[in-house]
């Protein structure tokens, strides 16, 4: 393999960037004593909160896939009037400040909101409930899944789909048996990113559901209420868990790729 040469400045700049990301994480991990760590790991509220956060992220990602993948496919393959408007709408949650997103969601899913009132008829409430957490996470993280999946679908060769149609496959079969299997890596990567973005959400969620407390809210509450010494161990544990999960997923994806 031929070695690429980069300008020296690039290497320095890139190193600084990596250091910028990694240094706060390392310092956080180092600033927690083993005793604090143990006490926090055995804190039931912390464990419950981590579980709740991951669960809510998973539910929002699953619901995001149900609605987001069809949308991504339409955006990748369709050509119709208003498509660029649609692409813009998908990106909106990325530019709306998350507290503003929370307020907007409150107005729709709150007790007086249009959907809040409708769902209340079937006993589903959002304020200070798991459903509120899910909605907050989903709103801010959905674009990541849709955009990644759209790119993945677009990279699948259209001729393959067309020849399958010629061979008699219907549109559903084409998507399910041709496009999705070929695009799965991009879709999975989008789903993981959506989940990760969801579990790290604070602003939108805290307005809809201060409790049950997801980890970002719990860390904020402990920081505000009890100080740095009680918030840092939770932050550290979350970092460890998330780093581990990400390493696992990366390994899983790469080994699946080797097999296929």
């Amino acid at each position: 393999m031929k070695k690429t040469h980069f300008p020296v400045g690039f290497v320095i700049a890139a190193s600084l960037m990596i250091l910028f990301i990694i240094l706060p994480i390392i310092i956080t991990l180092l600033s927690v004593s083993a005793e604090q760590m143990l006490r926090t790991i055995t804190d039931k509220d912390v464990a419950r909160s981590i579980g709740l956060t991951f669960l809510a992220g998973a539910i929002s990602t699953a619901m995001g896939m149900l609605t987001g993948l069809p949308l991504a496919y339409i955006l990748a393959r369709g050509s119709f009037r208003g498509k660029s408007l649609l692409l813009g709408i998908v990106d909106l949650p990325l530019i709306i400040p998350h507290t503003a997103a929370g307020i907007a969601l409150l107005l729709v899913f709150g007790r007086q909101g249009m959907l809040g009132q409708a769902f209340a008829q079937v006993g589903l409430f959002f304020m200070d409930r798991l459903a509120g957490v899910v909605v907050g996470m989903m709103f801010v993280s959905l674009p990541l899944l849709v955009n990644a999946s759209r790119d993945a679908f677009a990279s699948v060769n259209v001729e393959l789909e067309q020849s399958a149609r010629v061979d008699g496959a219907n549109a559903w079969q084409v998507f399910w048996q041709i496009t999705l299997p070929m695009a799965w890596r991009g879709v999975l990567s989008g789903a993981v990113t959506m989940w990760a973005r969801g579990i790290s959400e604070f602003g939108a969620v805290v307005i809809l559901a201060y409790s049950p407390k997801i980890i970002p809210v719990l860390i904020y509450e402990r920081f505000q209420g009890f100080g740095l010494s009680s918030a840092t161990p939770i932050a550290a544990i979350l970092l460890v868990v998330v780093l581990f999960l990400f390493a696992l997923l990366r390994w899983l994806a790469s080994s699946l790729e080797k097999n296929s």
């Binding site: 509220d45 007790r111 201060y210 409790s211 049950p212 505000q224 209420g225 009890f226």
Partner: protein, 342 residues
């Protein structure tokens, strides 16, 4: 670059004056800030508002550089600042405060709130206990309304002669129980360290009482305990509580003192806070490690000036005059003039 350029063109950088105040002071202090900055164009007030316990913790536990501290409960200043030394020194965070204002605890609601047409001074506790009524509470661990509203519920047991009022409201609403030991003349409310509402709870809890205002506006909650000044500022409907319960009557101190709130903090806090019922009094002080103590004193002077008095009055939150407080011999030189009225 344009940012740097414009900053360089400014003749003189403004001196920042960091003010941390109780959430219930947002509106009057916001007005004070504008008037103060108009009078002193070289000073720039950077204000933050939190629950009163939080306000002080930012000084004593998070070690932030803060110039002025204004708490909705003056007792927090001796409790959390007099007895705690600045790290590496023998100097406490504060050794004086001015009791600059009072207030009354009341219930805020909207015309559309559930049972708005039937709630009154005699049945409010029963209405708030109904499962279909959404009640906003502020967190007693962080906020003065938080523990005061619980005192009100406890005192209501004596006032109305019913010993189940507190538990009818609280029981089953929190994952870790808030307990009341009621011995008539002495009522002790114990708050667990971890406090979270249950899934089916009809209580919505937030970190401070002002955080409940937008929830009330949005119709998410039907009622919230707030200070009268705040309710008037927001033009909500207000149910006044009897003097014996609203913590606002200076002649009823003895009665209020029967209720006590204890925070059962084992792990996190450096002190175990105990709050005794007393007339609501707001306290203001300058932390001993304030970066700009002289400018901070200017702010307090301005608060007591005719202009400051008028601003507080306009916000339904009149100053307590003449100025009074604690440790006044330790007041900064430039504030000694305030003692003359005594």
């Amino acid at each position: 670059m344009t940012l740097l350029g414009s900053a360089a063109c400014t003749p003189k950088a403004k001196t920042p004056l960091v003010v941390f105040a109780a959430g219930s002071l947002i509106q009057p202090f916001d007005d004070l800030e504008k008037a103060f900055e108009a009078k002193y164009p070289d000073l720039d007030i950077l204000a933050e508002y939190h629950g009163s316990i939080q306000v002080i913790r930012h000084v004593t536990e998070l070690h932030e550089a803060i110039d002025v501290v204004a708490s909705a409960d003056q007792a927090l200043i001796p409790m959390l600042m007099y007895d705690v030394n600045i790290p590496g020194t023998e100097q406490p965070y504060s050794d004086w405060y001015l009791s600059f204002a009072s207030n009354h605890l009341a219930l805020a609601y909207k015309p559309g709130s559930k049972y708005a047409d039937e709630i009154n001074q005699d049945n409010w506790y029963e209405v708030l206990s109904r499962p279909d009524v959404k009640v906003g509470l502020s967190d007693p661990r962080f906020d003065a309304v938080g523990y005061r509203q619980l005192m009100t519920f406890a005192m209501a047991q004596n006032e109305y002669g019913k010993e189940t009022i507190f538990n009818d409201f609280i029981d089953g609403q929190f994952t870790h129980r808030i307990r009341l030991v009621d011995m008539g003349d002495l009522q002790i409310i114990r708050i667990p360290e971890l406090l979270e509402t249950t899934r089916e709870s009809h209580i919505m809890m937030r970190g401070s009482s002002v955080a409940l205002i937008s929830l009330l506006e949005a119709g998410e909650i039907d009622y919230a305990f707030e200070y009268e000044s705040v309710i008037k500022q927001h033009s909500f409907e207000m149910l006044r509580l009897p003097d014996s319960l609203n913590l606002g009557n200076p002649d009823l101190e003895e009665q209020y003192a029967r209720a006590t709130v204890k925070l059962d903090f084992r792990r996190f806090a450096s002190v175990d806070p105990i709050f005794k019922g007393e007339q609501i009094k707001y306290g203001i002080t300058i932390p001993s490690n304030a970066p700009h103590p002289e400018e901070a004193a200017l702010f307090i002077q301005f608060l007591y000036s005719p202009e400051g008095q008028a601003i507080m009055q306009e916000n339904a939150h009149p100053l307590l005059l003449p100025p009074r407080g604690d440790g006044l011999a330790n007041l900064p030189e430039s504030l000694q003039g305030l003692r003359q009225g005594q």
